[in-house]
């Protein structure tokens, strides 16, 4: 019996994909790794528990994370997706420039084996994007990081470094907090 297919199209890291016929029960991680050669999304538990495979889905209400190992392409059909390969920007010569989250992870050496890092970068990116839309008081930042990254597992115990990196990005980026140093500095500059 032929495997049932669906006509799939999506925007992945800004690039239009499809329409292309794909097996209807294909999981996102297989699409990325096997069909698109985007191997930065890591398959680990295959059960949506460890979040190493976290990818970003952009919608009208903003960005959100989903685990690529248990999210089928049927749900991603027609949506806009970002993977770890789409997080860095580019300079004028087209060379990749790490995003502020990536830069902070490098500075704080927020990984050891790095297997879970793409998931952490994506989850932190979504956190930063959500704060840009709805800034919070500095006093709530630590709790918010814990909530946002709680589901992401790291077996090299790099949590402290991930945490420090994300906190630094949030506190040093104007507009992510309502009363943070970056916010105050920014106000001073404007004045």
């Amino acid at each position: 019996m032929a495997i049932p297919k669906i006509s799939f199209s999506a925007t992945i890291n800004g690039q239009k994909i499809g329409p292309v016929d794909l097996p209807e029960d294909l999981m996102a991680v297989e699409l990325l790794q096997e069909y698109l050669n985007l191997t930065g999304t890591r398959l680990t538990c295959g059960q949506g528990v460890c979040r190493a495979c976290t990818i970003i889905v952009d919608g009208e209400e903003g960005s959100r994370t989903v685990p690529a190992c248990i999210t089928g392409i049927a749900w991603l059909n027609g949506r806009s997706i970002r993977t770890i390969e789409g997080i860095a920007g580019k300079d004028t010569d087209g060379r990749p420039v790490p995003s502020p989250v990536q830069q902070a992870f490098l500075k704080h050496f927020s990984f050891q084996c790095s297997y879970c890092t793409p998931g952490f970068v994506n989850a932190a990116t979504v956190l930063v994007e959500s704060l840009a839309k709805a800034p919070i008081p500095v006093a709530e930042v630590e709790g918010r990081i814990l909530t946002a990254l709680d589901a992401n597992l790291c077996r090299c115990t790099g949590y402290v470094r991930y945490y420090q990196a994300v906190r630094e990005v949030i506190l040093s980026t104007p507009g992510l907090t309502v009363d943070g140093p970056a916010q105050t500095a920014n106000a001073t500059v404007k004045a």
Binding site: E24, D25, M27, V49, R64, G72, A74
Partner: protein, 431 residues
């Protein structure tokens, strides 16, 4: 006009007399059987035996289900909220604290509270305390329970005041209710034609286990009706129909039901909502012969051929199929086979089979936290999808699951989903 007034006066007087008679009938406790054992003269080993038996009674009676401290620390310190249409009632401290618990009670007091619903001083308990079920507890079980309770550490934790809607906050009103709905305390007796196992099963299900308190439909006065275990929506979840026909229709075998009670998991489902604490406090601690007795009583000698998937009913919702593949199939499999010890199979799961889709909607919206069940069984966390499915999509997915595996061809409409969510949110708000 005067005539009308006279008739009205007469009716008022008659009503007052009737209420008075009912109050008198339902007031306080009736006679109690003599103590089964002289607690004062028990020596060490005999007392230890009694305490061990009492623990089994506490497990089978699942005292902890309502009397546990939701903040942890003690199974007996109270504080667990129970949401009823009359308001929220909190389980009380039944540790042997003199100040806050039952430290000052005698064994007679305990029996009277359990079997008659009356605490020392003649204070009516609310029928959230299942004395209607417990009315047939044996004095020996009550006394063993007393010995065990008094051997537990006292917890000095004050009780949480109930938040009942007037007039239900008036305890004397319970006397009226008792007059109509409370059976007299009468220790359980096996029927003459009943095997010991059958009698034990009936006692465990109807009396100690008080299964009917959730699974039996209730009337307008919130009393259990004469359709025992026929299923009931309580605290925003369906406690399903446990009558033999219904169990067999949903594919329950005796072996699967035993596994379910002992380990929390069977191909037909996993202990969820209020049944998860029942598993962890009660059924997972019960001896195998008690589990067998419960199962054979519930199935009444019948048994399904096995957990066979139901044939597809009608045409499964096409949009629901895509949602299933996109959101569910990653763990439960495109054909609903699940993954051992992490995600339940859906093709034999009974949740989609219930007429009322409330449990299905809740599980999909809220998810289920990762759980250590019992006997090494466990389930990974299921995420909630409330933020990814609007009412229409939820209706499509729920309809699909019911059509594909539940045997229900009729689709569930989006406004039905909205109504279920309102009902569930109401219960949540009352906690």
């Amino acid at each position: 006009m005067i005539r009308v007034l006279r008739v009205l006066c007469l009716l008022v007087v008659l009503g007052a007399v009737a209420a008075g008679l009912l109050m008198w009938k339902g007031w306080g406790a009736g006679p109690i059987p003599p103590a089964s054992v002289d607690l004062a003269s028990l020596d060490g080993p005999a007392r230890a035996d009694l305490i061990a038996r009492g623990e089994q009674v506490a497990r089978a009676g699942d005292c902890a289900a309502c009397h546990t401290d939701p903040d942890g620390g003690s199974d007996l310190a109270g504080g667990m909220p129970m949401v009823t249409p009359m308001g929220t009632i909190y389980g009380t401290n039944i540790s042997p604290s003199e100040t806050h618990g039952i430290g000052g009670w005698s064994a007679d007091d305990l029996y009277t509270a359990i079997a008659w619903g009356v605490a020392p001083g003649g204070r009516n308990l609310y029928p959230a305390m299942p004395y209607v079920s417990y009315h047939a507890i044996t004095r020996a079980d009550s006394d063993a329970l007393y010995a065990w309770l008094m051997a537990q550490p006292p917890v000095e934790k004050p009780n949480t005041p109930n938040r009942l809607i007037p007039p239900f906050n008036l305890r004397f009103g319970v006397s009226l209710w008792n007059a109509v709905f409370r059976p007299d305390a009468a220790p359980f007796q096996p029927a003459t034609d009943e095997t010991p196992e059958a009698a034990r099963g009936r006692y465990l299900v109807d009396v100690l286990g008080h299964c009917g308190e959730c699974h039996t439909p209730r009337n307008l006065a919130y009393a259990m009706t004469g359709q025992p275990l026929a299923g009931n929506v309580i605290e925003g979840a369906l406690a399903p129909n446990l009558t033999p026909d219904a169990l067999v229709q949903r594919g329950w075998t005796a072996g699967d039901l035993e596994r379910f009670l002992a380990s929390g998991l069977a191909p037909q489902g996993v202990m969820t909502f209020r049944m998860f604490p029942v598993l962890s406090h009660s059924t997972s601690h019960m001896p195998p012969e008690d589990i067998k007795a419960i199962t054979s009583h519930l199935l009444a000698g019948r048994s399904a051929p096995g957990p066979v998937p139901r044939p597809v009913a009608g045409t499964p919702d096409a949009a629901g199929h895509q949602l299933y593949l996109g959101l569910c199939a990653g763990c439960h499999g495109p054909n609903g086979t699940g993954q051992p010890h992490s995600s339940v199979p859906l093709n034999t799961n009974t949740t989609a089979m219930f007429d009322d889709p409330i449990n299905l909607v809740r599980i999909i919206r809220e998810g289920v936290e990762a759980r250590d069940l019992a006997q090494g069984e466990r389930m990974q966390a299921m995420p909630g999808f409330a933020d990814r499915l609007d009412d229409t999509q939820m209706a499509q997915l729920v309809s699909y699951l019911r059509q594909r595996w539940g045997g229900h061809a009729d689709p569930v409409a989006a406004d039905r989903i909205a109504e279920i969510i309102r009902r569930v949110d109401g219960v949540e708000a009352a906690h």
